[in-house]
């Protein structure tokens, strides 16, 4: 995600995200998926809380709507969760 966010844009979201995936997840961003937060939607996808900490900005939690495309997970959309991020900014990049 932090190295090539465009690769994670779901097909149906491409027209909205366009070539701005890098702006959505700037270089140096720490991305921390909250694995325990996974909620399957029952139709092949689900949502998960993801903490994003971009350089110079406070960390924020998003609910990411995930779908599978040819075996790979993609992000359709996100919902910004209210309040401060619940996890530390340390995590996978």
């Amino acid at each position: 995600m932090s190295t090539d966010p465009a690769a994670l844009v779901a097909t149906s979201a491409r027209s909205e995200v366009g070539n701005q995936a890098r702006q959505a997840v700037p270089p140096g961003t720490t991305v921390t998926p909250q694995v325990d937060s996974w909620l399957p939607d029952g139709v092949g996808g689900g949502i998960m809380t993801v903490t994003i900490a971009a350089p110079g900005t406070p960390a924020a939690d998003y609910a990411a709507v995930m779908v599978q495309e040819r075996g790979a997970w993609k992000v359709m959309a996100t919902l910004l969760l209210p309040g401060p991020a619940n996890s530390s900014t340390a995590g996978a990049r």
Partner: protein, 692 residues
């Protein structure tokens, strides 16, 4: 605050009032519900599932449930219409649903109507939608339940073809076009049946009058798209799909005992999970199965009802890339409004606008809270407790759309009741006599200023109603229509009367001014007055009288007869015949010339035939001539005869309505004049004879 809805309320209330009619009651009854009419039990027996080769209980006469009551608190009961007849109303459920009507109310049309799109209102209905229909006089409600096969496509033998058998049977048993009320894919099951051959016909349009659909995916379902993650879904936006997935995921996070029965989370899952079924795959936009379905046949009224939910969703985007916070439109979550209303004759949409806020649930799981977007004073409700009148599975619980469905059924049944003279007291009338089109009140058009004339049913201004009104089927649809005489003027003398055709409602089918129907060479008369309208084999035989050309006295001496018929676009006149005094005068002269005194006497007043026989000897050439006839004050009467019409003069023939002249070439006279008086429609008499 209690909110009452008035959509189609006139029809609905009329239906409820009509419930006061009596019922034919058979001695078979549920313990606490009214007995079922014997005629309906007979139909139920005739169209039993096993007789039609269907699974047991596929088709059932819906029983009245003890908990379904009228606004007066009485149990809902079947009642015949004003013709003492019933019309089948067939209920068809949708994808993954069922509709058998039992006291546990698990059928999709059996829940009490308790929702409204107005979050500030409440609903105090005490009936299910099936109960609403049962409350309409003339409605006989049957359920078609294919639940064990509901994940199959509509061409499966248990779905469309089976419904076709049920429609055929109930149509034949009742002799009435059936009405179908369907939810979701049930509308496509119905479309399949409607577009496939019935007995002796290429489709079933002659067996079905009205179809009401709730959230039918005519062009596809949003839910069916959830499995198509690789496609850029042109029909539905990414935001819509993402939002529905979010709702499904959050609903799925609740344990079943957390969710309140009847809420969105309780009822949304089944149709969404069925997307991989045969039906689910067929319901994808652009699927070959959908493409193979034929359009609704012409002649069937399709009233398509849809839910339209929009969510204001703050902070929707793709991580730090926010999207415009436009409302996300999700239709009824399973079907978009566009899809639900494609190809319909009539449509109604119920709209619900919510704000959807994310919240942190227990254990940091995402929770969702809903509230009215524009009403900040409404407390947020958790998703697991949320019901909504706009959601796919709840459309038949909402007062707005069920009122529309009730109105559609009541209107259809009302259209089968023959037009009566009483109905015409409030009939629509066309623009005529310088008055705008309008609707009669008490048989007269209101709002016309004093001294500016009138427009009214002709029999209110004298004349026998039975002569000025003809009842019968005028457009070939099997229902009782009416032809009525309308009289109007613009403040002076009467204008030519109109003959208007009305279908049940009453609705104005068409009209014709009698001033526009004239024999070749004849000019329109100043007025034209109906003598009689008579129904004859799908048409109306009209008899009316009008002045002849050049008669300043405007005496109605020209009698017309014509057959008026509706041709699908307008009223045509055929078999036009015209009768004046001339025929009687000519026959009288012929009888005199031939010495047939008896025949001549039958056409004349006492002594006139004898006097004419005498004059024949003096003026034999006159009795060889063809009469020329003139009005009482005609300006073009030949000068030698002008004294005959000069009131008070020595030659004046008092009370002569027409004067017919026989030119005499013999010495001593210019004309033998016959005074003619009208005795009735197309009946004239020679009342006196003069030599001038």
């Amino acid at each position: 605050m209690k909110h009452r809805y008035t959509g189609r309320v006139v029809t609905a209330l009329a239906a409820l009032v009509l419930l006061a009619g009596t019922q034919a009651v058979a001695p078979r009854a549920a313990a606490s519900a009214p007995a079922l009419p014997s005629v309906l039990i007979n139909w139920s027996d005739q169209c039993q599932s096993d007789r039609l080769g269907l699974d047991q209980d596929t088709v059932q006469l819906a029983p009245t449930l003890a908990g379904d009551t009228t606004p007066q608190g009485k149990p809902v009961a079947y009642a015949p219409d004003s013709r003492r007849r019933y019309t089948p109303v067939i209920i068809v459920h949708g994808w993954t649903g069922s509709d058998t009507h039992t006291s546990d109310r698990t059928g999709d049309f059996s829940s009490i109507i308790d929702l409204t799109a107005n979050a500030l209102g409440t609903v105090d209905t005490t009936r299910s939608l099936i109960g609403q229909f049962q409350n309409v006089p003339g409605a006989a409600v049957f359920t078609f339940d294919y639940h064990p096969y509901s994940a199959r496509w509509v061409d499966d033998s248990h779905l469309g073809p089976a419904l076709g058998k049920v429609i055929d049977c109930l149509y034949q048993a009742s002799g009435q076009k059936v009405i179908v009320v369907a939810h979701s894919m049930g509308g496509l099951v119905t479309r399949y049946a409607a577009t496939h051959p019935g007995p002796g016909a290429a489709d079933r349009s002659r067996e079905i009058s009205t179809v009401v659909t709730f959230g039918t995916p005519e062009t596809g379902s949003v839910a069916a798209l959830l499995g198509e993650t690789l496609l850029d879904q042109g029909a539905v936006t990414n935001q819509t799909l993402a939002l529905i997935r979010t709702i499904l995921a959050v609903c799925g996070s609740y344990t079943s005992n957390e969710i309140e029965t009847g809420t969105l989370c309780d009822r949304l899952y089944a149709p969404a999970r069925a997307l991989e079924s045969t039906a689910g795959q067929a319901l994808r936009y652009g699927s070959p199965q959908l493409a193979a379905l034929k359009p609704w046949p012409a002649g069937i009224t399709v009233d398509a009802l849809a839910g339209q939910t929009t969510f204001q969703v703050p902070d929707l985007g793709w991580f730090a890339l926010p999207w415009d916070t436009v409302p996300v439109n999700v239709g009824d979550i399973i079907v978009t409004a566009d899809s639900a209303q494609h190809g319909a004759t009539l449509t109604k949409t119920v709209s619900c606008d919510y704000q959807l806020n994310p919240a942190r649930g227990a254990g940091d799981f995402l929770d969702l809270r809903l509230r009215l977007a524009s009403k900040a004073d409404i407390a947020q409700e958790p998703l697991k407790a949320f019901t909504g009148a706009c959601f796919h599975v709840d459309l038949m619980r909402g007062i707005e759309l069920t009122n529309e469905a009730l109105g559609a059924v009541a209107d259809d049944l009302s259209s089968r009741q023959p037009v009566t003279a009483a109905d015409l007291l409030s009939a629509p009338v066309p623009a005529a006599c310088e008055h705008d089109a309008g609707t009669l009140t008490g048989g007269r058009l209101a709002g016309i200023p004093a001294n500016h004339g009138s427009m009214e049913l002709a029999w209110l201004d004298g004349g026998q109603r039975s002569d000025l009104l003809a009842l019968g089927d005028l457009n070939g649809d099997g229902y009782g229509d009416a032809a009525a005489t309308l009289a109007c003027n613009a403040g002076g003398v009467a204008w030519p009367e109109l003959v208007a055709f009305y279908t049940p409602g009453p609705h104005l089918l068409g009209y014709v001014s009698l001033g526009d129907i004239n024999a070749p060479g004849r000019q329109p008369g100043e007025h034209a007055d109906v003598y009689q309208l008579r129904y004859d084999n799908g048409a109306v035989v009209a008899e009316w009288s009008t002045p002849e050309d050049g008669d300043p006295g405007a005496m109605s001496s020209l009698d017309y007869t014509a057959t008026l018929r509706w041709n699908g676009h307008g009223i045509t006149a055929a078999n036009l015949s015209a009768t004046t005094e001339l025929a009687t005068a000519a026959q009288f002269v012929t009888d005199i010339r031939h010495g047939d005194a008896q025949a001549a006497q039958s056409l004349s007043a006492a002594g006139v035939a004898a006097e004419a026989a005498n004059q024949l000897r003096s003026y034999p050439d006159a009795f060889q001539a063809t009469p020329s006839c003139y009005g009482e004050n005609s300006l073009d009467i030949p000068a030698p005869a002008a004294g005959l019409t000069a009131a008070g003069g020595p030659q004046w023939i008092q009370n002569a309505q027409r004067i017919c002249l026989l030119p005499a070439t013999a010495t001593g006279a210019h004309y033998v004049a016959l005074a003619m008086n009208k005795q009735g429609f197309q009946r004239w008499q020679v009342t006196s004879l003069a030599i001038v």
